[in-house]
Amino acid sequence: MKVLVAVKRVIDYNVKVRVKADNTGVETANVKMSMNPFDEIAIEEAIRLKEAGTAEEIVAVSMGPQQCQETIRTALAMGADRGVLVKTDDELQPLAVAKLMKAVVDEEQPGLIILGKQAIDDDSNQTGQMLAALLGWPQATFASKVEIAGDKAKVTREVDGGLETIEINMPCIVTTDLRLNEPRYASLPNIMKAKKKPIDEKSPEDMGVDTAPRLTTIKVEEPPKREAGVIVEDVAQLVDKLRNEAGVI
Protein backbone atom coordinates (compact mmCIF):
# COMPACT_ATOMS: atom_id res chain seq x y z
CA MET A 1 0.00 0.00 0.00
CA LYS A 2 1.13 3.50 -0.79
CA VAL A 3 0.50 6.18 1.85
CA LEU A 4 0.25 9.85 0.95
CA VAL A 5 1.00 12.31 3.74
CA ALA A 6 0.41 16.06 3.59
CA VAL A 7 3.03 18.25 5.27
CA LYS A 8 2.64 21.99 5.72
CA ARG A 9 5.36 24.54 6.40
CA VAL A 10 4.20 26.79 9.23
CA ILE A 11 5.67 29.25 11.72
CA ASP A 12 7.52 27.22 14.35
CA TYR A 13 5.39 26.56 17.41
CA ASN A 14 8.01 28.18 19.66
CA VAL A 15 7.90 31.53 17.86
CA LYS A 16 5.98 34.38 19.41
CA VAL A 17 3.74 35.35 16.50
CA ARG A 18 3.46 39.04 15.68
CA VAL A 19 0.77 40.79 13.67
CA LYS A 20 2.03 42.86 10.74
CA ALA A 21 1.92 46.62 11.23
CA ASP A 22 -0.69 47.03 8.46
CA ASN A 23 -2.99 44.37 9.98
CA THR A 24 -3.02 42.28 6.80
CA GLY A 25 -1.63 39.15 8.43
CA VAL A 26 1.14 37.89 10.68
CA GLU A 27 4.84 38.56 10.28
CA THR A 28 6.59 35.68 8.50
CA ALA A 29 9.80 37.41 7.39
CA ASN A 30 12.83 36.40 9.50
CA VAL A 31 10.72 33.92 11.42
CA LYS A 32 11.68 30.32 12.02
CA MET A 33 9.49 27.90 10.08
CA SER A 34 8.93 24.20 10.75
CA MET A 35 6.66 21.32 9.85
CA ASN A 36 3.14 21.59 11.25
CA PRO A 37 3.25 19.42 14.41
CA PHE A 38 0.10 17.48 13.44
CA ASP A 39 1.79 16.62 10.14
CA GLU A 40 4.80 15.25 12.02
CA ILE A 41 2.34 12.92 13.73
CA ALA A 42 0.93 12.00 10.30
CA ILE A 43 4.39 11.14 8.98
CA GLU A 44 5.17 9.14 12.11
CA GLU A 45 1.96 7.13 11.71
CA ALA A 46 2.82 6.36 8.10
CA ILE A 47 6.33 5.25 9.10
CA ARG A 48 4.88 2.95 11.76
CA LEU A 49 2.55 1.41 9.19
CA LYS A 50 5.55 0.83 6.96
CA GLU A 51 7.56 -0.69 9.81
CA ALA A 52 4.62 -2.98 10.56
CA GLY A 53 4.58 -4.13 6.92
CA THR A 54 1.17 -2.55 6.19
CA ALA A 55 2.55 0.22 3.99
CA GLU A 56 5.23 -0.08 1.31
CA GLU A 57 5.81 3.49 0.26
CA ILE A 58 5.36 6.87 1.91
CA VAL A 59 5.02 9.98 -0.23
CA ALA A 60 5.21 13.36 1.52
CA VAL A 61 3.36 16.16 -0.25
CA SER A 62 3.77 19.86 0.45
CA MET A 63 2.39 22.96 -1.26
CA GLY A 64 3.62 26.51 -1.29
CA PRO A 65 6.88 28.35 -1.99
CA GLN A 66 10.22 26.72 -2.80
CA GLN A 67 11.14 26.57 0.91
CA CYS A 68 8.45 23.92 1.45
CA GLN A 69 11.11 21.62 0.07
CA GLU A 70 12.81 21.82 3.49
CA THR A 71 9.61 20.60 5.13
CA ILE A 72 9.56 17.68 2.70
CA ARG A 73 13.25 17.01 3.49
CA THR A 74 12.33 16.80 7.16
CA ALA A 75 9.65 14.25 6.32
CA LEU A 76 12.18 12.31 4.24
CA ALA A 77 14.69 12.47 7.10
CA MET A 78 12.05 11.05 9.43
CA GLY A 79 11.46 8.14 7.06
CA ALA A 80 9.24 9.06 4.10
CA ASP A 81 10.44 7.62 0.78
CA ARG A 82 9.94 10.49 -1.64
CA GLY A 83 8.37 13.90 -1.92
CA VAL A 84 6.03 15.91 -4.12
CA LEU A 85 6.26 19.69 -4.02
CA VAL A 86 3.44 21.67 -5.59
CA LYS A 87 5.20 24.96 -6.00
CA THR A 88 3.38 28.27 -5.91
CA ASP A 89 3.95 31.65 -4.33
CA ASP A 90 0.20 32.35 -4.30
CA GLU A 91 -1.88 32.11 -1.14
CA LEU A 92 -3.42 28.66 -0.78
CA GLN A 93 -6.66 28.23 1.13
CA PRO A 94 -7.93 24.84 2.30
CA LEU A 95 -10.17 24.28 -0.73
CA ALA A 96 -7.28 24.95 -3.11
CA VAL A 97 -5.04 22.59 -1.13
CA ALA A 98 -7.74 19.90 -1.20
CA LYS A 99 -8.13 20.28 -4.98
CA LEU A 100 -4.38 20.10 -5.52
CA MET A 101 -4.20 17.09 -3.23
CA LYS A 102 -6.93 15.41 -5.27
CA ALA A 103 -4.87 15.94 -8.41
CA VAL A 104 -1.87 14.36 -6.68
CA VAL A 105 -4.05 11.46 -5.49
CA ASP A 106 -5.39 10.88 -9.01
CA GLU A 107 -1.83 10.46 -10.19
CA GLU A 108 -0.37 8.54 -7.23
CA GLN A 109 -3.36 6.28 -6.42
CA PRO A 110 -2.53 5.80 -2.71
CA GLY A 111 -4.39 3.36 -0.48
CA LEU A 112 -4.37 5.79 2.46
CA ILE A 113 -4.01 9.53 2.93
CA ILE A 114 -2.94 10.91 6.30
CA LEU A 115 -3.17 14.62 7.10
CA GLY A 116 -2.84 16.67 10.25
CA LYS A 117 -6.28 17.54 11.66
CA GLN A 118 -5.34 21.19 11.24
CA ALA A 119 -2.34 23.45 10.71
CA ILE A 120 -1.23 25.53 13.66
CA ASP A 121 -1.06 28.72 11.61
CA ASP A 122 -4.65 29.20 10.40
CA ASP A 123 -6.28 26.40 12.43
CA SER A 124 -8.73 25.80 9.59
CA ASN A 125 -9.32 22.07 10.15
CA GLN A 126 -10.86 21.73 6.68
CA THR A 127 -8.44 20.23 4.18
CA GLY A 128 -8.88 16.56 5.13
CA GLN A 129 -12.63 16.80 5.09
CA MET A 130 -12.75 18.71 1.79
CA LEU A 131 -10.39 16.19 0.19
CA ALA A 132 -12.63 13.33 1.34
CA ALA A 133 -15.61 15.06 -0.25
CA LEU A 134 -13.77 15.75 -3.50
CA LEU A 135 -12.58 12.14 -3.76
CA GLY A 136 -15.75 10.58 -2.42
CA TRP A 137 -13.65 8.60 0.09
CA PRO A 138 -14.49 7.70 3.69
CA GLN A 139 -12.83 9.84 6.33
CA ALA A 140 -11.80 9.37 9.96
CA THR A 141 -10.82 12.68 11.53
CA PHE A 142 -9.12 13.44 14.89
CA ALA A 143 -7.57 9.98 15.03
CA SER A 144 -5.91 8.80 18.23
CA LYS A 145 -5.50 5.20 17.07
CA VAL A 146 -5.35 3.65 13.62
CA GLU A 147 -5.54 -0.09 12.89
CA ILE A 148 -5.60 -1.35 9.34
CA ALA A 149 -6.71 -4.86 8.48
CA GLY A 150 -7.25 -5.77 4.84
CA ASP A 151 -9.63 -3.33 3.21
CA LYS A 152 -10.90 -1.88 6.49
CA ALA A 153 -9.48 0.74 8.81
CA LYS A 154 -10.52 0.82 12.45
CA VAL A 155 -9.94 4.32 13.77
CA THR A 156 -10.41 5.68 17.28
CA ARG A 157 -11.43 9.33 17.17
CA GLU A 158 -11.18 11.99 19.84
CA VAL A 159 -14.65 13.48 20.09
CA ASP A 160 -16.28 15.75 22.64
CA GLY A 161 -16.70 13.80 25.83
CA GLY A 162 -14.67 10.73 24.92
CA LEU A 163 -13.43 8.37 22.26
CA GLU A 164 -15.36 7.05 19.30
CA THR A 165 -14.22 4.01 17.33
CA ILE A 166 -15.34 3.66 13.74
CA GLU A 167 -14.60 1.23 10.92
CA ILE A 168 -14.31 2.55 7.40
CA ASN A 169 -13.47 1.11 4.00
CA MET A 170 -10.11 1.63 2.36
CA PRO A 171 -8.93 3.69 0.57
CA CYS A 172 -9.64 6.37 3.11
CA ILE A 173 -8.54 9.60 4.71
CA VAL A 174 -7.28 9.91 8.26
CA THR A 175 -6.54 13.16 10.06
CA THR A 176 -4.32 13.03 13.11
CA ASP A 177 -4.95 14.26 16.62
CA LEU A 178 -2.26 15.04 19.17
CA ARG A 179 -2.30 11.71 20.99
CA LEU A 180 -2.00 9.40 17.99
CA ASN A 181 1.74 8.96 18.48
CA GLU A 182 4.97 10.69 19.45
CA PRO A 183 6.92 11.60 16.32
CA ARG A 184 10.52 10.47 16.14
CA TYR A 185 13.47 12.80 15.63
CA ALA A 186 15.09 13.04 12.23
CA SER A 187 18.32 11.25 13.13
CA LEU A 188 21.66 12.32 11.68
CA PRO A 189 22.09 9.20 9.52
CA ASN A 190 18.59 9.68 8.15
CA ILE A 191 19.21 13.40 7.49
CA MET A 192 22.19 12.37 5.36
CA LYS A 193 20.21 9.64 3.56
CA ALA A 194 17.28 11.98 2.90
CA LYS A 195 19.43 14.01 0.51
CA LYS A 196 19.35 11.16 -1.97
CA LYS A 197 15.58 10.73 -1.90
CA PRO A 198 13.72 12.27 -4.86
CA ILE A 199 11.38 15.25 -4.69
CA ASP A 200 9.08 15.73 -7.67
CA GLU A 201 8.15 19.33 -8.43
CA LYS A 202 4.82 20.40 -9.92
CA SER A 203 2.83 23.60 -10.32
CA PRO A 204 -0.93 24.22 -9.94
CA GLU A 205 -0.98 25.29 -13.63
CA ASP A 206 0.49 21.93 -14.75
CA MET A 207 -2.17 20.20 -12.72
CA GLY A 208 -4.95 22.36 -14.12
CA VAL A 209 -6.19 23.47 -10.72
CA ASP A 210 -7.64 26.91 -10.01
CA THR A 211 -6.21 28.03 -6.66
CA ALA A 212 -7.79 31.48 -6.53
CA PRO A 213 -8.75 32.35 -2.90
CA ARG A 214 -12.45 32.21 -2.12
CA LEU A 215 -12.11 34.02 1.21
CA THR A 216 -10.87 37.55 1.82
CA THR A 217 -9.03 38.47 5.00
CA ILE A 218 -10.36 41.81 6.18
CA LYS A 219 -8.19 42.44 9.19
CA VAL A 220 -5.80 40.62 11.54
CA GLU A 221 -5.40 41.95 15.06
CA GLU A 222 -3.51 41.02 18.23
CA PRO A 223 -5.74 39.55 20.94
CA PRO A 224 -6.39 42.05 23.74
CA LYS A 225 -3.58 42.17 26.29
CA ARG A 226 -4.34 40.33 29.51
CA GLU A 227 -4.08 42.60 32.50
CA ALA A 228 -2.30 41.64 35.67
CA GLY A 229 -4.48 40.12 38.42
CA VAL A 230 -4.97 41.58 41.87
CA ILE A 231 -5.03 39.83 45.22
CA VAL A 232 -8.17 40.73 47.16
CA GLU A 233 -8.09 41.06 50.92
CA ASP A 234 -11.39 39.42 51.79
CA VAL A 235 -14.60 38.01 50.38
CA ALA A 236 -16.41 41.30 50.70
CA GLN A 237 -13.86 43.00 48.48
CA LEU A 238 -14.05 40.13 46.00
CA VAL A 239 -17.83 40.42 45.76
CA ASP A 240 -17.55 44.18 45.42
CA LYS A 241 -15.07 43.88 42.55
CA LEU A 242 -17.10 41.19 40.80
CA ARG A 243 -20.23 43.35 41.05
CA ASN A 244 -18.88 46.81 40.41
CA GLU A 245 -15.71 46.32 38.32
CA ALA A 246 -16.23 43.09 36.41
CA GLY A 247 -20.03 43.44 36.34
CA VAL A 248 -20.53 39.68 36.43
CA ILE A 249 -22.81 39.44 39.43
Binding site: A29, A186, L188, I191
Partner: protein, 396 residues
Protein backbone atom coordinates in the same frame (compact mmCIF):
# COMPACT_ATOMS: atom_id res chain seq x y z
CA UNK B 1 20.66 28.89 3.80
CA UNK B 2 17.09 30.01 3.22
CA UNK B 3 16.61 33.70 3.88
CA UNK B 4 13.87 33.10 6.40
CA UNK B 5 15.56 30.41 8.45
CA UNK B 6 16.20 32.63 11.42
CA UNK B 7 13.83 33.15 14.30
CA UNK B 8 14.18 34.11 17.89
CA UNK B 9 13.95 37.37 19.68
CA UNK B 10 17.36 38.90 19.23
CA UNK B 11 20.16 38.92 16.66
CA UNK B 12 22.42 37.47 19.34
CA UNK B 13 20.42 34.40 20.26
CA UNK B 14 20.85 30.96 18.76
CA UNK B 15 18.27 31.26 16.04
CA UNK B 16 18.92 34.74 14.91
CA UNK B 17 22.69 34.90 14.67
CA UNK B 18 24.47 34.99 11.37
CA UNK B 19 25.35 31.56 10.05
CA UNK B 20 27.66 31.80 7.09
CA UNK B 21 28.00 29.71 3.94
CA UNK B 22 29.88 26.89 5.71
CA UNK B 23 26.55 25.80 7.21
CA UNK B 24 24.49 23.71 4.79
CA UNK B 25 20.92 22.46 4.95
CA UNK B 26 22.29 19.31 6.61
CA UNK B 27 23.74 21.37 9.44
CA UNK B 28 20.45 23.23 9.83
CA UNK B 29 18.46 19.99 9.85
CA UNK B 30 20.82 18.47 12.43
CA UNK B 31 20.56 21.63 14.53
CA UNK B 32 16.75 21.38 14.44
CA UNK B 33 16.87 17.72 15.51
CA UNK B 34 19.24 18.44 18.39
CA UNK B 35 17.20 21.46 19.45
CA UNK B 36 14.11 19.26 19.75
CA UNK B 37 16.10 16.46 21.40
CA UNK B 38 17.57 18.76 24.07
CA UNK B 39 14.25 20.54 24.63
CA UNK B 40 12.28 17.31 25.03
CA UNK B 41 14.70 14.74 26.43
CA UNK B 42 17.01 16.85 28.62
CA UNK B 43 15.61 20.26 29.52
CA UNK B 44 12.58 19.01 31.49
CA UNK B 45 14.91 17.02 33.78
CA UNK B 46 18.06 19.08 33.79
CA UNK B 47 17.74 20.61 37.26
CA UNK B 48 16.68 17.33 38.80
CA UNK B 49 19.56 15.42 37.21
CA UNK B 50 22.10 18.04 38.17
CA UNK B 51 20.94 18.02 41.79
CA UNK B 52 20.86 14.22 41.82
CA UNK B 53 24.40 14.07 40.46
CA UNK B 54 23.57 11.90 37.48
CA UNK B 55 21.17 11.07 34.69
CA UNK B 56 19.45 7.82 33.64
CA UNK B 57 21.62 5.48 31.66
CA UNK B 58 18.84 5.21 29.07
CA UNK B 59 19.81 8.65 27.79
CA UNK B 60 22.84 7.06 26.08
CA UNK B 61 20.50 4.87 24.04
CA UNK B 62 18.28 7.81 23.13
CA UNK B 63 21.35 9.81 22.10
CA UNK B 64 22.52 6.90 19.96
CA UNK B 65 19.13 6.55 18.26
CA UNK B 66 19.09 10.19 17.22
CA UNK B 67 22.61 9.86 15.79
CA UNK B 68 24.30 11.99 18.43
CA UNK B 69 26.81 9.40 19.60
CA UNK B 70 27.82 8.47 16.07
CA UNK B 71 28.67 11.92 14.69
CA UNK B 72 31.88 11.59 12.68
CA UNK B 73 32.38 7.81 13.09
CA UNK B 74 32.40 5.26 10.23
CA UNK B 75 29.10 3.77 9.17
CA UNK B 76 30.35 0.17 9.58
CA UNK B 77 30.59 0.75 13.33
CA UNK B 78 27.20 2.45 13.57
CA UNK B 79 28.30 6.03 13.07
CA UNK B 80 27.52 8.77 10.58
CA UNK B 81 30.75 9.72 8.82
CA UNK B 82 30.33 13.48 8.60
CA UNK B 83 33.92 14.58 8.13
CA UNK B 84 33.34 18.24 8.79
CA UNK B 85 34.10 20.30 11.92
CA UNK B 86 30.96 22.36 11.44
CA UNK B 87 28.92 19.34 12.51
CA UNK B 88 31.04 19.33 15.64
CA UNK B 89 30.28 23.03 16.15
CA UNK B 90 26.53 22.59 15.69
CA UNK B 91 26.51 19.58 18.01
CA UNK B 92 28.53 21.32 20.70
CA UNK B 93 26.41 24.47 20.53
CA UNK B 94 23.05 22.77 20.66
CA UNK B 95 24.09 20.39 23.43
CA UNK B 96 25.47 23.32 25.44
CA UNK B 97 22.01 24.90 25.48
CA UNK B 98 20.90 22.54 28.22
CA UNK B 99 23.55 24.37 30.26
CA UNK B 100 24.49 21.31 32.33
CA UNK B 101 28.00 20.57 31.20
CA UNK B 102 28.07 17.46 33.36
CA UNK B 103 25.37 15.80 31.27
CA UNK B 104 27.23 16.48 28.05
CA UNK B 105 30.60 15.51 29.51
CA UNK B 106 29.38 12.06 30.55
CA UNK B 107 26.91 11.48 27.74
CA UNK B 108 29.53 12.22 25.10
CA UNK B 109 32.57 10.96 26.97
CA UNK B 110 33.19 8.39 24.23
CA UNK B 111 34.31 11.30 22.06
CA UNK B 112 37.52 11.32 24.07
CA UNK B 113 37.59 7.61 24.96
CA UNK B 114 36.96 6.04 21.56
CA UNK B 115 39.07 8.16 19.14
CA UNK B 116 42.40 6.55 20.13
CA UNK B 117 40.88 3.13 19.38
CA UNK B 118 39.56 4.39 16.04
CA UNK B 119 42.82 6.13 15.16
CA UNK B 120 45.42 3.49 16.01
CA UNK B 121 43.56 0.46 17.38
CA UNK B 122 43.50 -2.94 15.67
CA UNK B 123 40.50 -3.93 13.55
CA UNK B 124 39.67 -6.57 16.11
CA UNK B 125 39.59 -3.97 18.88
CA UNK B 126 37.50 -1.55 16.82
CA UNK B 127 34.96 -4.25 15.98
CA UNK B 128 34.82 -5.40 19.58
CA UNK B 129 34.35 -1.94 21.11
CA UNK B 130 33.02 0.67 18.71
CA UNK B 131 29.58 -0.74 17.77
CA UNK B 132 28.60 -1.20 21.41
CA UNK B 133 29.74 2.28 22.34
CA UNK B 134 28.09 4.02 19.39
CA UNK B 135 24.83 2.16 20.03
CA UNK B 136 24.76 3.55 23.56
CA UNK B 137 25.03 0.14 25.19
CA UNK B 138 28.52 0.70 26.58
CA UNK B 139 30.25 3.79 27.96
CA UNK B 140 33.84 4.53 26.99
CA UNK B 141 35.98 6.89 29.09
CA UNK B 142 39.50 8.23 28.72
CA UNK B 143 41.98 8.02 31.59
CA UNK B 144 45.16 10.09 31.19
CA UNK B 145 45.41 12.48 34.15
CA UNK B 146 46.97 11.19 37.37
CA UNK B 147 47.03 12.51 40.92
CA UNK B 148 50.56 13.75 40.22
CA UNK B 149 49.85 15.59 36.96
CA UNK B 150 47.42 16.36 34.13
CA UNK B 151 48.67 18.01 30.99
CA UNK B 152 52.19 16.78 31.73
CA UNK B 153 51.39 13.52 29.97
CA UNK B 154 55.04 12.65 29.36
CA UNK B 155 55.61 12.16 33.10
CA UNK B 156 52.73 9.86 33.90
CA UNK B 157 53.46 7.13 36.42
CA UNK B 158 50.87 4.36 36.06
CA UNK B 159 52.90 1.37 34.96
CA UNK B 160 52.05 -1.67 32.86
CA UNK B 161 54.51 -4.56 32.94
CA UNK B 162 54.32 -7.41 30.44
CA UNK B 163 53.85 -10.81 32.04
CA UNK B 164 53.29 -13.54 29.46
CA UNK B 165 50.30 -12.55 27.34
CA UNK B 166 49.07 -9.98 29.87
CA UNK B 167 50.08 -6.55 31.07
CA UNK B 168 50.00 -6.03 34.81
CA UNK B 169 48.83 -2.50 35.58
CA UNK B 170 49.53 -0.57 38.78
CA UNK B 171 48.80 3.09 39.51
CA UNK B 172 45.91 5.53 39.66
CA UNK B 173 44.05 8.06 37.54
CA UNK B 174 42.31 11.27 38.59
CA UNK B 175 39.35 13.46 37.50
CA UNK B 176 38.11 10.83 35.04
CA UNK B 177 34.90 11.94 33.33
CA UNK B 178 32.33 9.16 33.13
CA UNK B 179 34.69 7.25 35.41
CA UNK B 180 32.07 5.73 37.70
CA UNK B 181 29.82 4.20 35.05
CA UNK B 182 32.14 3.54 32.11
CA UNK B 183 32.46 0.01 30.75
CA UNK B 184 35.67 0.68 28.81
CA UNK B 185 38.60 2.93 29.67
CA UNK B 186 41.34 4.02 27.29
CA UNK B 187 44.14 4.25 29.83
CA UNK B 188 47.55 5.83 29.34
CA UNK B 189 50.24 3.68 30.97
CA UNK B 190 54.00 3.59 31.10
CA UNK B 191 55.33 0.49 29.36
CA UNK B 192 58.82 1.80 28.61
CA UNK B 193 61.32 4.29 29.95
CA UNK B 194 60.84 7.91 30.99
CA UNK B 195 59.21 10.53 28.78
CA UNK B 196 56.86 10.41 25.78
CA UNK B 197 58.50 7.39 24.21
CA UNK B 198 57.56 5.08 27.08
CA UNK B 199 53.80 5.57 26.98
CA UNK B 200 51.19 3.15 25.67
CA UNK B 201 47.40 3.10 25.60
CA UNK B 202 45.55 0.13 27.03
CA UNK B 203 41.87 -0.66 26.83
CA UNK B 204 40.77 -1.77 30.29
CA UNK B 205 37.31 -3.17 30.99
CA UNK B 206 35.51 -2.13 34.16
CA UNK B 207 35.23 -5.63 35.66
CA UNK B 208 38.96 -6.52 35.63
CA UNK B 209 40.08 -7.74 39.02
CA UNK B 210 41.98 -5.14 41.03
CA UNK B 211 40.37 -2.18 39.22
CA UNK B 212 38.38 0.07 41.61
CA UNK B 213 36.98 3.59 41.51
CA UNK B 214 35.67 6.27 43.83
CA UNK B 215 33.39 9.17 43.01
CA UNK B 216 34.61 12.77 43.25
CA UNK B 217 32.53 15.76 44.35
CA UNK B 218 32.96 18.86 42.21
CA UNK B 219 32.14 22.59 42.05
CA UNK B 220 30.12 22.08 38.87
CA UNK B 221 29.32 19.36 36.34
CA UNK B 222 27.32 17.65 39.05
CA UNK B 223 25.48 15.43 36.58
CA UNK B 224 28.79 13.91 35.49
CA UNK B 225 30.15 10.82 37.22
CA UNK B 226 33.73 11.94 37.71
CA UNK B 227 35.99 9.40 39.43
CA UNK B 228 39.41 8.50 40.71
CA UNK B 229 40.56 5.13 39.35
CA UNK B 230 42.85 2.68 41.08
CA UNK B 231 44.72 -0.18 39.42
CA UNK B 232 46.15 -2.80 41.76
CA UNK B 233 47.85 -5.62 39.83
CA UNK B 234 45.17 -5.46 37.14
CA UNK B 235 45.84 -8.06 34.43
CA UNK B 236 44.98 -6.87 30.93
CA UNK B 237 45.42 -9.13 27.86
CA UNK B 238 47.93 -7.88 25.27
CA UNK B 239 45.26 -7.74 22.57
CA UNK B 240 43.84 -4.76 24.51
CA UNK B 241 46.86 -2.66 23.56
CA UNK B 242 45.61 0.33 21.54
CA UNK B 243 48.11 0.87 18.72
CA UNK B 244 51.75 0.01 19.20
CA UNK B 245 53.61 -0.34 22.46
CA UNK B 246 55.39 2.83 23.58
CA UNK B 247 53.67 4.85 20.83
CA UNK B 248 50.64 5.96 22.83
CA UNK B 249 51.69 9.59 23.16
CA UNK B 250 50.83 10.51 19.56
CA UNK B 251 47.42 8.85 19.89
CA UNK B 252 46.71 10.94 22.98
CA UNK B 253 47.79 14.21 21.43
CA UNK B 254 45.70 13.63 18.30
CA UNK B 255 42.63 13.79 20.48
CA UNK B 256 43.33 17.21 21.84
CA UNK B 257 42.67 19.35 18.76
CA UNK B 258 39.07 18.18 18.35
CA UNK B 259 38.55 18.44 22.08
CA UNK B 260 39.69 22.09 22.03
CA UNK B 261 37.38 22.95 19.16
CA UNK B 262 34.51 21.20 20.96
CA UNK B 263 35.18 22.93 24.28
CA UNK B 264 35.54 26.31 22.59
CA UNK B 265 32.21 25.93 20.77
CA UNK B 266 30.58 24.81 24.02
CA UNK B 267 32.02 27.67 26.06
CA UNK B 268 30.88 30.29 23.59
CA UNK B 269 27.44 28.69 23.36
CA UNK B 270 27.19 28.81 27.15
CA UNK B 271 28.15 32.50 27.00
CA UNK B 272 25.27 32.94 24.57
CA UNK B 273 22.86 31.22 26.96
CA UNK B 274 23.95 33.70 29.65
CA UNK B 275 23.26 36.59 27.29
CA UNK B 276 19.87 35.20 26.25
CA UNK B 277 18.66 34.55 29.77
CA UNK B 278 19.91 37.89 31.12
CA UNK B 279 18.31 39.69 28.18
CA UNK B 280 14.94 38.04 28.69
CA UNK B 281 15.09 38.99 32.37
CA UNK B 282 16.20 42.59 31.81
CA UNK B 283 13.43 43.17 29.28
CA UNK B 284 10.82 41.96 31.73
CA UNK B 285 12.09 43.21 35.08
CA UNK B 286 10.91 46.65 36.25
CA UNK B 287 13.25 48.70 38.47
CA UNK B 288 13.00 52.34 39.45
CA UNK B 289 10.04 52.85 37.16
CA UNK B 290 11.59 51.43 34.00
CA UNK B 291 12.73 48.18 32.49
CA UNK B 292 16.04 46.92 33.82
CA UNK B 293 17.13 46.87 30.18
CA UNK B 294 16.59 50.64 29.97
CA UNK B 295 19.38 51.45 32.43
CA UNK B 296 22.51 52.49 30.58
CA UNK B 297 24.78 50.50 32.87
CA UNK B 298 22.86 47.34 31.98
CA UNK B 299 22.65 48.13 28.27
CA UNK B 300 26.42 48.43 28.07
CA UNK B 301 26.82 45.05 29.70
CA UNK B 302 24.78 43.51 26.89
CA UNK B 303 26.81 45.29 24.24
CA UNK B 304 30.04 43.99 25.78
CA UNK B 305 28.74 40.44 26.07
CA UNK B 306 27.52 40.44 22.47
CA UNK B 307 30.80 41.94 21.24
CA UNK B 308 32.87 39.22 22.87
CA UNK B 309 30.54 36.40 21.80
CA UNK B 310 30.49 37.50 18.18
CA UNK B 311 34.25 37.96 18.03
CA UNK B 312 34.73 34.50 19.54
CA UNK B 313 32.21 33.01 17.11
CA UNK B 314 34.06 34.47 14.15
CA UNK B 315 37.35 33.01 15.42
CA UNK B 316 35.66 29.68 16.12
CA UNK B 317 34.36 29.46 12.58
CA UNK B 318 37.67 30.55 11.11
CA UNK B 319 39.46 27.79 13.02
CA UNK B 320 36.78 25.27 12.01
CA UNK B 321 37.24 26.30 8.38
CA UNK B 322 41.00 25.73 8.62
CA UNK B 323 40.46 22.31 10.20
CA UNK B 324 37.97 21.55 7.40
CA UNK B 325 40.70 22.41 4.90
CA UNK B 326 42.99 19.86 6.50
CA UNK B 327 45.15 22.17 8.62
CA UNK B 328 46.01 21.52 12.25
CA UNK B 329 46.29 25.07 13.58
CA UNK B 330 47.53 24.13 17.06
CA UNK B 331 48.38 27.66 18.19
CA UNK B 332 45.08 29.10 17.00
CA UNK B 333 43.03 26.28 18.54
CA UNK B 334 44.83 26.94 21.82
CA UNK B 335 44.21 30.69 21.62
CA UNK B 336 40.62 29.98 20.64
CA UNK B 337 40.09 27.92 23.76
CA UNK B 338 41.41 30.74 25.95
CA UNK B 339 39.30 33.28 24.07
CA UNK B 340 36.17 31.14 24.47
CA UNK B 341 36.50 30.35 28.15
CA UNK B 342 37.33 34.00 28.97
CA UNK B 343 34.19 34.99 27.06
CA UNK B 344 32.18 32.43 29.00
CA UNK B 345 33.65 33.67 32.28
CA UNK B 346 32.85 37.29 31.43
CA UNK B 347 29.31 36.55 30.29
CA UNK B 348 28.54 34.32 33.28
CA UNK B 349 29.67 37.14 35.58
CA UNK B 350 27.79 39.89 33.76
CA UNK B 351 24.62 37.84 33.34
CA UNK B 352 24.68 36.99 37.03
CA UNK B 353 25.03 40.70 37.88
CA UNK B 354 22.03 41.48 35.67
CA UNK B 355 19.90 38.65 37.06
CA UNK B 356 20.79 39.60 40.62
CA UNK B 357 19.25 37.41 43.30
CA UNK B 358 17.30 35.42 40.71
CA UNK B 359 20.56 34.43 39.06
CA UNK B 360 22.00 33.20 42.33
CA UNK B 361 19.18 30.69 42.81
CA UNK B 362 19.52 27.04 41.84
CA UNK B 363 17.41 26.16 38.83
CA UNK B 364 18.64 29.21 36.92
CA UNK B 365 20.79 28.28 33.94
CA UNK B 366 23.20 31.13 34.61
CA UNK B 367 23.78 29.97 38.20
CA UNK B 368 24.88 26.57 36.91
CA UNK B 369 26.98 27.99 34.10
CA UNK B 370 28.72 30.23 36.63
CA UNK B 371 29.73 27.12 38.59
CA UNK B 372 30.98 25.49 35.39
CA UNK B 373 33.25 28.28 34.20
CA UNK B 374 36.34 26.88 35.87
CA UNK B 375 35.99 23.36 34.56
CA UNK B 376 35.88 24.77 31.04
CA UNK B 377 38.84 27.07 31.71
CA UNK B 378 40.91 24.26 33.25
CA UNK B 379 39.68 21.03 31.63
CA UNK B 380 41.04 20.00 28.23
CA UNK B 381 44.15 22.09 28.87
CA UNK B 382 44.12 25.06 31.24
CA UNK B 383 44.34 28.63 29.96
CA UNK B 384 47.93 28.74 31.22
CA UNK B 385 48.89 25.54 29.39
CA UNK B 386 47.16 26.85 26.26
CA UNK B 387 49.09 30.11 26.36
CA UNK B 388 52.34 28.27 26.89
CA UNK B 389 51.58 26.15 23.85
CA UNK B 390 50.89 29.30 21.86
CA UNK B 391 54.17 30.86 22.94
CA UNK B 392 56.04 27.71 21.98
CA UNK B 393 54.34 27.62 18.57
CA UNK B 394 55.36 31.25 18.11
CA UNK B 395 58.94 30.21 18.70
CA UNK B 396 59.42 32.65 21.55
Amino acid sequence: MPADYHGGESPFDFDHRYQGPAYTDDHHAWRATLRAFVDQEIMPHVDEWDEAGGFPRGLYKKAADVGLLGVGYPEEYGGTPVDDPFFLLVTAEEMARCSAGGINASLLVHNIGLPPVMAVGSDELKQRIAPQVLSGDKIHALAITEPSGGSDVANLKTRAVLDGDHYVVNGSKMFITGGMRADYYSVAVRTGGDGNAGISLLLIERDREGFTRTELKKQGWWASDTAALYFDDVRVPVENLIGEENKGFAGIMKNFNNERLWMSASANALARVCLEDALAWARDRQTFGQRLADHQVIRHKFAEMARKINATQAYLEQCAQRVAEGERPVADLSMLKVQSTLTMEFCAREAMQILGGAGYMRGCRVERIYREVRVMAIGGGSEEIMRDLVARQMGI
